[in-house]
Symmetry: C2
Amino acid sequence: MENFNFHVTTDIRFGKDRLSELPEVLNVFGKKVLLVYGGGSIKRNGLYDRVVQLLTDNGSTIVELSGVEPNPRIETVTKGAQLCRAHQIDVILAVGGGSVIDCSKAIAGGTFVEGDLWENLVLKRRYNGPALPLVTILTLAATGSEMNSGGVISNMATQQKLGMGGKNLLPKASFLDPTNTFTVNAYQTTAGSADIFSHLMENYFNATPGTDVQDGVAEGLMKTVIKNLPIALKDPENYDARANLMWASTLALNGLTGSGKQGTWSCHAMEHELSAFYDITHGMGLAILTPRWMAHILNDVTVPKFARFAKEVWGIQDENPEQAAKKGIQALYDFFLENGVPMTLPAVGIDTEKDFEKMAQQAVAHSTIATSAFVPLSEKDVVAIYQACMSESTFV
Amino acid sequence: MENFNFHVTTDIRFGKDRLSELPEVLNVFGKKVLLVYGGGSIKRNGLYDRVVQLLTDNGSTIVELSGVEPNPRIETVTKGAQLCRAHQIDVILAVGGGSVIDCSKAIAGGTFVEGDLWENLVLKRRYNGPALPLVTILTLAATGSEMNSGGVISNMATQQKLGMGGKNLLPKASFLDPTNTFTVNAYQTTAGSADIFSHLMENYFNATPGTDVQDGVAEGLMKTVIKNLPIALKDPENYDARANLMWASTLALNGLTGSGKQGTWSCHAMEHELSAFYDITHGMGLAILTPRWMAHILNDVTVPKFARFAKEVWGIQDENPEQAAKKGIQALYDFFLENGVPMTLPAVGIDTEKDFEKMAQQAVAHSTIATSAFVPLSEKDVVAIYQACMSESTFV
């Protein structure tokens, strides 16, 4: 196990009927609130009205930033930072999923950054400057952004989608009410769960030895998703299923499963290029890529971890490690397929290989997958993995 | 899943060779330091000298409180609080295991409490007043006190051992260096692991439905202990084994596995009376009690959870839930036995049943096990469980 710091101070308020606590949480920071949200689903399900009523009754001043994109864009960040400066905002309230929260983090820091925010904030990747306090109300179990300090911002002009972060961007408090995800449709529920699962696997398939705590926690959370996603799809208002997916999403990426490990993630680097070039749903891109990536890197060195994954996560009993590993990959593929993931790139609208080389170049250039991934990946490897996603797969 | 708050702000510094960060962490609070430790093991292994050298070089003033007991006593708490007041201490530095840290928490709060600290602090159980900041250097993987807000204090005069706590008692920072546990002997290593395992089981065997996240995390941590305890016993300086036990101890009781669940713990209430009457090692008492408690409460309602425990934690494949449950209990008993736990009460020096009724009365009186345990326990149940611990057991 590697040395690590774990200092995650977000005040989690988990459960239903807790929104009345919101004014007290916000008032610690002040009464001028930037309310950030996305495409209006919170207007349809009544959450927007409840939040505005609470803040109005509280005497807060609300400035709104709506229309945050599913892959939030630098233009929206810039607009939000301008609003914060113009209105001397005290606290940002993000109501939404990971995109809204990621965008709000960039705004929280960007308010204090001069000049072009793509150049001076996102491209720097690490931000150690001051930030406005951020409170979140989560509406989608997926990214874990509600309890970590990172975010991903897109620049469609340069076809870049980049992660950035810093400890001052960590949310001060997050309201996690599973009932706020009752109206999430099947497609987004599955995409969110694929994102959770991917975060767990990215941390799990790692070369650092002696990380049983992190791996055991990750296995427990993976089994939680495997059990609860089908329940939530069949019965969208099943509270416990939604609660387990929501809390799993948070713990999957708050440092618990990644601290103490070295190395970089593989599938996220490859998926960010898919999203940057084709604006597909992040979780679906990850689900499509991951089994093909696993099959591509299965070798004598990696097989024990894959066999452990098969046994501990999927309950596969097979004494032959390579066979067990392949059965584990197949089980993952089948799980995604059965829960509605379109498991090929053409099924999500990418029916040409013409950009694969450029995307592979960028995936390698924008990350350290060529040097510090579980198995280092060259541009050629990345192209091969993209190509394997063009048709259905069998692994056993 | 029940509603819960999770707000655990302790700054964890995990790993080796990090003690040079200590002055910077303490200086945030001030330079007058109460150094709290136990029976002198930190003097034998050199940790005391390193800490004192660092603080001296830093220009700190050190006031010492040594000799904290394995079950820390109210007299020591009172002495510590007097020292803090007399020397206008800025920050408490606890160097030790759970006893030293628990004692330091009570001192941190007790400094601000007037009059008798047993009456006005411990017997109140919840403390919401101010507290001195507390920083810890952990030397034993066991109680999890390094990242939670509770502690247990004993009063030998009244034969009471009671839990108390409050959010201001949460350590501000904790240094978790696995090498500081290399010199922990086999007996204490096993007792500490039994304590970790017990915390996990107390939270796991619970009637709240829909807690897959908490249960999955607990299973992962239990498997971590099962794998790493024998390694640490065989090879006390195995860094990864010590690291996994240490981090498991912290996560077992920082809220992750208990948040979202209702109900009270069973074995701790029964064990506190064993320790209060006979001053035995807490972890050993828990290990002796737990399998007998499990067998005592196994019924149609509890069997599914026991069967899940058998399958997910011990890998037991048995289609009959009751048989699986019994095999799981046996596996737990055998695990403790194989790792050196004296698995009967006579083996730890309790060779008479004369106090069992009084202990059972107190166990019920000092806790809510009669109303809100996984299976509610009467005084008669508790006596029966104590009696079952008088000789060796077989469960299958």
